[in-house]
Symmetry: C2
Subunit: 364 residues, 2 copies
């Protein structure tokens, strides 16, 4: 059987630095677990623009469609802020999501015991927190037409379109219900059905799919503004949250920050099964390219390493190895090892990106 | 000179209960401060639907256009959840906002010293917090056309339109800059210019108005997802935040919850100046109709009372009286008086809505 294949798109800013540590884990998988990955590397984001004039080359897009899984670091940086909208680094990432049709974005917000003190929230509010936001990733206002800046009369008008079809809602709802069944069996769906018709359709379809196919899962609905409040007030009331692309963007970042572990949070973006049965998939840390600390050795590689662990679990059915990596991460944290983002100004000297990667490999 | 006029729309749920306490303050203004308000009362939301079959009668709308200020309690309740979208309680409130053209919604998120312990955030993160979110309130995806649920092929499609004109952005930006000048002189504007063209226009126009008319104010821009994160991480970095209708809805609720004082937070929705120089204005608490506690005497009237204080300040140039009321609220809190929402389960016996109102009048 062919080796499992990976496309690594390290991207901009701290992307390449954190990805270098993932490669150590990939090396460990080969040496100690007998699993060799066929790894290809390529460019996405600002670095792709620098070389090709576009944030994602067609060849890279084609490769992404062929491999078993894509690992992405991060895109963006201040030097690209003035680029035209159509070639901004983000467009590369959005093109991958759209053309691979990665409709289900899983964003766990998990509070690591060793870090509960590091959250801006009180310890009892976040200790042991373990929720997943399932964000719709290929539709909504991110992709709806018409869109653009137009001139009407003597002024400019900015337009975007929120647009959801029934089947787009149904498939992401199913993926949330499936996930909930493997967890605490609870889904909360968030929209603004009190204000937006697209929210009404969202609520109706989620309810229908529930009633017909997942009546065993506990389902509730919440307005997204209240959702933001409840995440801050008592996040442990949730298990799985399912929401649209834009609310998912804001609410998952809010949830991520609750944990105090932003540099620790992975994500998986999944599409339909390919011919080999594996889902189309892209894995990336929730944090961004952090241009301010790029090149300083301060970046925390854990989110990217845990994204690789998610790849093992969701793409390669290697849940045991995924758990092993997660346990190794927990252990180095319990041992007190901290990168700069996990320390206060008075907490002593942090370890570097490479030291953290090495420590995790050692713990494995 | 004619007495200043008020239209009171107490609405649904706890609305009438908290508004009853505001009337005591209005009474105190007459008795002790020699300011008599001409008060009219009417219906909005579910109670208006029950009587008229619409959540806001045309006569009520006409009255709202004539008075100096509208005071609103809250709208909505589970018995109205199955109503058609067009007559839901919320449509009454949205009609008021739209037809009065109340484009600038000021939502202070302030942490009261006596309540800093009550937040889910650590005390040092929120103690002394005092920020204002200026939310655009009459445009964006709340009102953009086309909108609705359509059938395409053999499935339903939900559509809403995010739409902002240059002048809509400019006027709310001005109101944020004006406010900042009276405060710490800092504005942070939030959008998703990396994904939405309407966000690009938003950012450009805010920057232009700044450069031309308010170069003395410190302006920054932030993506709304990062905004949600930064609100949770370290909210004191902000002074005034300006954002669109939908982001403002979610981010202001997030900010409100940070303070631990949701039952305490007022809001002002302001439009253009009327013939008498006063702005069109509607004042309402940030909390909702809380149907679960309606009629139990548990509601906290402070948000509604502070909304009236905002009316004194912004509509009637009675800043001194506004401050007096705010100080009276601070004092009853410092004295340890608490409604149920401000207590943990072990904190003893809360006082009732009317007791809180009476205590504030006594402190005045
Ligand atoms: C980089 C940006 C386009 C992206 C988004 O808005 O989806 C990011 O914020 C995310 O959440 O993955
Ligand atoms: C009641 C509802 C229509 C309203 C909104 O979405 O604007 C509320 O959430 C608010 O923030 O005032």
């Amino acid at each position: 059987m062919a080796n499992p294949s990976l496309l690594i798109l390290a991207g901009d800013g701290i992307g390449p630095e954190v990805m270098a540590e993932v490669k150590k884990i990939i090396g460990w998988m080969g040496a100690k677990r007998g699993v060799t990955f066929d790894v290809t590397e390529d460019l996405v984001g600002g670095c792709a623009y620098d070389k090709h004039g576009v944030p994602l080359h067609d060849d890279t897009m084609a490769k992404a469609q062929e491999v078993d899984a894509v690992l992405l670091g991060a895109v963006g940086g201040p030097q690209y802020d003035t680029l035209d909208f159509s070639v901004k680094p983000e467009r590369g990432l959005l093109r991958l999501r759209k053309e691979m049709d990665l409709f289900s974005n899983l964003r766990p917000a998990q509070c690591f015991d060793a870090l509960a003190d590091f959250s801006s929230l009180k310890k009892d509010v976040v200790a042991g927190l373990d929720i997943v936001i399932v964000r719709e990733l290929t539709s909504g206002v991110y992709f709806g037409e018409p869109r653009g800046i137009f001139v009407e009369g003597n002024e400019r008008v900015g337009i975007n379109t929120q647009r959801y079809t029934e089947s787009e809602i149904a498939r992401v709802a199913r993926s949330a219900f499936e996930l909930a069944r493997k967890r605490a069996n609870k889904v909360c769906s968030m929209e603004k059905a009190n204000v937006m018709e697209s929210g009404i359709l969202w609520r109706d379809v989620v309810q229908e799919i529930h009633d017909k196919e997942y009546p065993d899962v506990q389902l509730s609905h919440m307005y997204a503004d209240n959702g933001a409040m409840q995440l801050v007030r008592w996040p442990k009331q949730f298990d799985v949250i399912v929401t649209d692309n834009l609310f998912g963007d804001v609410l998952s970042d809010c949830a991520a920050m609750l944990t105090g572990s932003l540099g620790m949070l992975p994500s998986a973006s999944l599409g339909a099964p390919m011919a080999n049965g594996r889902p189309k998939a892209l894995y990336e840390p929730v944090h961004g390219s952090a241009p301010d600390i790029a090149g300083t050795g301060k970046a925390n590689p854990i989110a990217c390493i845990l994204s690789f662990a998610m790849a093992l679990r969701y793409s390669f059915d290697m849940g045991e190895d995924a758990t092993r990596i997660e346990k190794a991460v927990e252990q180095v944290l319990a041992d007190g090892l901290r990168t700069a983002d996990l320390m206060g100004p008075q907490d002593g000297t942090p370890i570097s990106t490479t030291q953290m990667g090495d420590a995790i490999v050692a713990a494995l």
